[in-house]
């Protein structure tokens, strides 16, 4: 009977119920869409940054990150590598040797970053092969060939199969010099990476720098990026003091800071949105209680206990909040999936600005189920807290005063 009465009461003023339900419905959709876009943009940004080059986790010789010189590199340790690869969240482990060199072609010279890579392992983490826009990716052997980033190649006006000259300082002060056949070009979304990277097979780079078996970092790929912190913690336990294990947040602190700041401003926007929801719901509840004050007084007068009346009003409010939240949640799913499949793309100067800050100028949406659950629950919680207003009013009501017209 009470459920039936609550349900019927819900529709006694269709406009009021519709307004309240619509307020909750749109609140859920807006908060989910905003959070999904925010998370999607940052996930994409992190993925770009991490997958293009940094990786989710890097392992170096202790102290390398503060003084990034070849002399702080580490000798490859097969036993250690096997242990790391055996961790359940690790999908790939790519050894690298990285250092700077001067690249020359004809009468032009430019600084570049030489990255010695294991072609197959590197490809698992950064998908480097997919970024090849001209020529070929390294085969198993690799040989004495290099792959240049697009911006660097344009600077030199290079073609595939041209030869580039490199000169640098090798391991322990040795002179490093060599000429290399250009195998292909790769393109990066990040202008910073696109203008300076030069890849060569690990063995070739080790020979170039006169550092056999030396690597400067292990770059790790993860199966689940949400478990980054626990994975880092595990690896630190395995690595002891010999190696330093760093997550992308430590490798790219500016990016992490930027994300935190941007998320902070998004919380303010969401807070304003929640406040609007509160006013919307509370306004209609206030209206409802004014309208039904006489009736509540009458029901108490004829013998309905206030507890039962409060339950009745609570049930009505819960019905409204649940209808709004669930329909909002259900409608937001296709919307968010659509935004994931067809991300918002921005163009013009804005896109250029984004590129300058290493952002891809696209706004994909994240379909992480926790967003739907969290936002749905927050709005549901707001609705339920506000539902206490009619309950409190019922408990405070004096039937004599309530029935005075």
């Amino acid at each position: 009977m009470w459920f039936r009465l609550a349900w019927k009461n819900l529709w006694r003023n269709k406009h009021r119920t519709s307004i309240t339900t619509a307020a909750i419905f749109f609140a859920v959709i807006l908060s989910i869409a905003a959070s999904s876009l925010q998370d999607g943009v940052f996930d994409n940004f992190i993925k770009n940054m991490v997958s293009y080059y940094t990786g989710y986790i890097q392992i170096h010789q202790q102290g390398y990150w503060d003084h990034q010189v070849l002399d702080n590199g580490m000798l490859r340790n097969e036993q250690y590598e096997t242990r790391i690869r055996g961790q359940k969240n690790i999908t790939a482990m790519a050894p690298r040797i990285e250092s700077y060199a001067l690249a020359s072609f004809k009468d032009l010279t430019k600084g570049c970053m030489v990255v010695g890579i294991h072609p197959e392992e590197e490809n698992k983490i950064t998908g480097l092969q997919k970024k090849v826009i001209a020529g070929d990716y390294f085969d198993h052997n690799g040989g004495n060939t290099v792959i240049l980033s697009e911006g660097l190649a344009e600077r030199f006006s290079l073609q595939v199969k041209d030869t580039i000259y490199l000169i640098s300082q090798g391991y322990h002060g040795a002179l490093a010099a060599g000429k290399y056949l250009i195998r292909g070009f790769v393109s990066f979304g990040s202008p910073e990476l696109n203008d300076q990277l030069l890849f060569m097979p690990l063995k070739t780079a080790q020979e170039f720098y006169a550092a056999p078996d030396l690597v400067t970092s292990y770059v790790l790929g993860l199966k689940f990026d949400k478990t980054l912190e626990s994975t880092v913690s595990n690896l630190r336990q395995i690595s002891g003091d010999t190696y330093e294990v760093m997550s992308w947040k430590e490798l790219l602190p500016d990016v992490d800071q930027h994300i935190k700041m941007d998320k902070g401003s998004m919380y303010i926007i969401l807070g304003i949105l929640y406040l609007l929801i509160c006013f919307g719901i509370f306004g209609t509840m206030l209206m409802m209680m004014v309208e039904r004050r006489y009736e509540v007084g009458m029901l108490v007068a004829i013998g309905m206990k206030k507890g039962i009346l409060a339950m009745l009003f609570l049930t009505e409010s819960i019905f409204t909040v649940i209808i709004g939240s669930v329909t909002g949640l259900l409608c937001s799913i296709p919307l968010v999936y659509y935004l994931k499949e067809h991300p918002i793309r921005i163009g013009g100067e804005m896109a250029e600005t984004y590129k300058r800050f290493n952002f891809e100028p696209v706004f994909p949406a994240s379909t992480d189920p926790s967003i739907f659950i969290t936002q749905g629950l927050i709005v549901l919680g707001i609705g339920l807290v506000l539902s206490l207003y009619p309950v409190i009013t019922v408990f405070k009501i004096d039937p004599v005063k309530a029935m005075k017209k």
């Binding site: 009977m1 009465l5 009461n9 009736e295 009458m298 029901l299 004829i302 013998g303 206990k305 004599v400």
Partner: protein, 239 residues
């Protein structure tokens, strides 16, 4: 005769600390089972306040209200609600049926609050609708009924809990002559056949004429307590 209501020396003052208004002043009222009593008096004489005190909706500042042997002024708010549910029927001036429920559901509601079994509810509802002559309107919502019909449903709702007595606050005030007469016929019949006790507050001369006892209030005090004819002669009742 069994005493149903024994209000003793009751007093109610509104705004005692600012502008005190003595709504009911040292009233003694004793009602036996089966009485058909009208409380009359000009506006502001304290009729509704006295009904509220007798009905346990309000508490007196002084005195006691004993219903069926229970001093309701000593009951807690929750127990008072429960007492009202089982002992007092209310009929209000503006019907106050729940608009989203059918006529039958409005009457059933009070019995459901009393946890009466479903089978018994059905029997009592059918009987009540027969008594008020609205068997064909059981599944109709209040908005589809006339004012008179709604007030008859309100009477059925008041009777549904099998109360000790029914308090009716100006029950005919919003009704046309025919509907008012019809309602009074039903109430008089219930009073006669089932010995149901009725107390009305009213300005309506028709109610006063049909009451077997008329209590006149002036300035919160009982002015006269007698038959309608003598009241009519003694104190001119106007709306």
């Amino acid at each position: 005769m069994k005493t149903v209501i024994d209000a003793h020396n009751i007093k109610k003052i509104y705004n005692p600390e600012t502008v005190p208004v003595v709504a009911v002043n040292n009233v003694h009222l004793h009602l036996e089972r089966g009485e058909f009593t009208a409380l009359v008096g000009p506006s502001g004489s304290g009729k509704t306040t006295l009904l509220n005190l007798i009905g346990g909706l309000d508490k007196p500042d002084n005195g006691s209200v004993i219903i069926n042997g229970v001093d309701i002024t000593r009951l807690s708010a929750n127990k008072l609600i429960d007492f009202r549910l089982h002992n007092i029927g209310f009929v209000f001036q503006s019907f106050n049926l729940i608009p989203v429920l059918s006529a039958r559901e409005n009457v059933e509601l009070i019995m459901q609050l009393q946890h009466v079994k479903k089978a018994e509810i059905n029997v009592r509802v059918t009987s009540l609708f027969r008594q008020i002559g609205l068997e064909d309107k059981m599944d109709v919502r209040p908005a589809q009924l006339s004012g008179g019909q709604q007030q008859r449903i309100a009477v059925a709702r008041a009777l549904a809990s099998r109360p000790q007595f029914i308090l009716a606050d100006e029950p005919t005030a919003n009704l046309d002559t025919k509907s008012a007469d019809n309602l009074l016929d039903i109430m008089a019949k219930l009073n006669k056949e089932e010995n149901m006790t009725f107390i009305f507050s009213t300005h309506d001369q028709r109610v006063i004429e049909r009451a077997r006892r008329v209590v006149t209030l002036v300035d919160g005090q009982i002015h006269t307590d007698s038959s309608p004819v003598s009241v009519h002669a003694d104190y001119p009742v106007t709306a």
